[in-house]
């Protein structure tokens, strides 16, 4: 396995006395995607901002290729590309000029910049809009331009903060392809997302953050299994025995019973699954593998945000 290009140890950040990131550790390797997941307010964006130097950590160390970030800030930032969640395009310039202007914020200068811009325009299918204002772009193409801009200087590490939020399904799939392509190019990518399917499909490794802490990390299917087990029972709201089933499951120690629009979702063990089937033979319910929706709900419920 290749060694990590980005290493962070003990990252901690507080705002107004409240700890928003609590001794977080993470690594990211070239040619891999690290997914940073967590409910709103978990500390994902703050973690990202510390990693790319927007805000300094209160504690902890960040290194890029073994270089301590705080001591080699300029060299490290030359290696970093950032695509923020907010639209920070320069609407005073054309699509192509946005790439040229952004490249001017880096030293050493981007080599063969004309060719690099043309290559990015082609790769992200922006060539027809090269001389147009970004105002003419749809949401999906604005996002394409933001991502293209973030790699104009050929970074080694790329931070994508919720890159597909607000996009329609087709545009999301296109963005996935682009991200997958950048991973194949050898970029180390750190991605935050609220979309469960995106995190599962794109991430080589997941880091689940809750209240600023690492609650699980590893391969996506293993992370979910560690936190939620192998099965999730779903009891529909119209099932007459719903309330009795909920009481029964709780009596057997089920602690993560979640109600979503009246529908019960409960992670259960294989033994509980068999017992449930025997106890409520005529009841209607489904069983499926746990997914990140279940994880989010469990974490949000732990935080008191869902009953």
């Amino acid at each position: 396995m290749t060694s990590a290009i980005l290493e962070a140890r003990g990252l901690t950040k507080s705002y107004g006395g409240r700890v928003v990131v609590d001794h977080l550790n993470l690594d990211c390797r070239p040619g891999s995607v690290l997914g940073l997941l967590g409910p709103n307010g978990a500390g994902k964006t703050t973690t990202l901002r510390m990693l790319y130097g927007f805000v300094p950590p209160d504690e902890g160390a960040i290194s890029y290729e073994g270089m301590e970030f705080s001591k080699h800030r300029s060299e490290a930032k030359r290696m970093i590309g950032v695509c923020t969640q907010e639209d920070s395009l320069d609407y005073d310039f054309t699509v192509a000029q946005n790439l040229f202007i952004y490249a001017s914020y880096f030293r050493p200068r981007v080599e063969n910049l004309d060719r690099r811009v043309a290559e990015l325009l082609a790769r992200f299918e922006l060539t027809p809009y090269a001389d147009a204002s970004p105002h003419v772009l749809s949401g999906g193409f604005v996002r394409r331009l933001l991502i293209a801009r973030s790699i104009v200087h050929r970074p080694r590490v790329l931070f994508l903060d919720e890159p597909t939020t607000g996009l329609d399904p087709s545009a999301r799939l296109d963005a996935w392809e682009l991200i997958d392509g950048m991973r194949s190019d050898g970029l180390a990518i750190v991605l935050t997302t609220h979309y469960m399917d995106e995190a599962e499909r794109l991430s080589d490794e997941l880091l689940v953050v809750h209240e600023g802490r690492d609650v699980a990390h590893g391969e996506p299917h293993r992370v979910i299994g560690d936190l939620l087990g192998d099965h999730v029972v779903v009891i529909p709201r119209h099932e007459p025995a719903r309330d009795r089933i909920e009481t029964w499951l709780q009596s057997r120690g089920a602690q993560q019973v979640a109600t979503v629009l009246g529908e019960l979702r409960v992670p259960v063990s294989k033994d509980d699954l068999l017992a449930l089937s025997a106890e409520f033979e005529g009841a209607t319910w489904q069983v499926r593998p746990p997914n990140l929706d279940d994880l989010f709900i469990a974490l949000a419920r732990r935080n008191g945000r869902i009953r």
Binding site: Y52, F54, V55, P56, V82, E86, Q97, I101, Y105, R107
Partner: protein
């Protein structure tokens, strides 16, 4: 980030990359960006300099008699040299920071915050130079037709005097840019500070404070120093003590205002 780092960022390539970005936007939109704002001092000159001249006797300035239009010519240079960078660093910078998120995009690169601040200061000062150049062109025309009597050759120095003072005015304005909660609140630095300062700094009429305190305050007022340095050069070819006064008052504003505006901008933009 130390105060020294905040100040020395002026010479860093990053500051000039931010400056270049603003300059390129200006060049794309120069017709709307230059002509209307540059007309304001010209209209003031025609209205007050020429309009009032018929009603005001010649003024005595450092032992020489001059008509009011000649007196106001230098005042307009100071008025423009203050107003242009001040409003650029207030409104235009606020739009870039808050509405367009331009600074957020820049700060995700190698460019650090002090360079964003300095890029804005330098750009605002150069904007002042552009508008002063237009005002000087108008003054030169009026000299040819005999409305004013100035040493035209010294007009070429006016934009550079304006750049010096413009840096101070821009750094001062960026303090407000960093702290106003909404663009409407810009009314405070505009109408409570900008307008009074631009009108009562020996720009449109001479002020000779009797109070020692006011005299001292006038000496550290860069608008006053700019007006008097410009007037001395245009009338006598000699700025007197006001070139040194301009440099001194500029530094007196520029150093603390740059450090403070950088700190306040860090809090506003980075939440630090």
């Amino acid at each position: 980030m130390s105060a020294a780092e905040s100040l020395t960022a002026a010479f860093h390539w990053q500051s000039w990359a931010v400056f270049r970005r603003n300059a390129l936007v200006f060049l794309r939109n120069w017709r709307t960006a230059v002509i209307p704002p540059a007309m304001e001092p010209v209209i003031f000159f025609v209205a007050f300099g020429i309009g009032f001249s018929g009603y005001i006797e010649d003024l005595d300035y450092r032992g020489a008699q001059m008509n009011y239009a000649t007196y106001v010519a230098a005042g307009l240079i100071a008025y423009t040299g203050f107003g242009t960078p001040y409003y650029e660093a207030l409104y235009a910078a606020y739009v870039r920071m808050f509405y367009q998120k331009t600074w957020d995009g820049i700060l995700a690169t190698q460019v650090e915050l002090p360079s964003v601040v300095w890029g804005e200061i330098l750009w605002a000062a150069v904007r002042g130079m552009v508008n002063i150049s237009i005002v000087c062109s108008v003054i030169a025309v009026f000299d040819v037709i005999g409305v004013v009597d100035v040493k035209v050759a010294f007009l070429v120095f006016m934009p550079f005097l304006g750049f010096i003072a413009g840096c101070a005015f821009a750094s001062f304005a960026l303090i407000f840019t960093a702290i106003v909660p909404a663009i409407d609140h810009m009314n405070y630095p505009v109408f409570l500070i900008g307008w009074p300062l631009s009108l009562v700094s020996n720009t449109f009429f001479p002020i000779d404070p009797q109070s020692v305190v006011l005299r001292a305050l006038w000496q550290i007022n860069p608008v006053y120093q700019l007006a008097e340095a410009a007037r001395g050069l245009l009338v006598f070819g000699d700025p007197g003590p006001h070139l040194v006064g301009l440099l001194g008052s500029t530094l007196l504003f520029l150093v603390p205002c740059t450090v403070l505006s950088t700190r306040l901008t860090r809090r506003r933009v980075l939440g630090e």
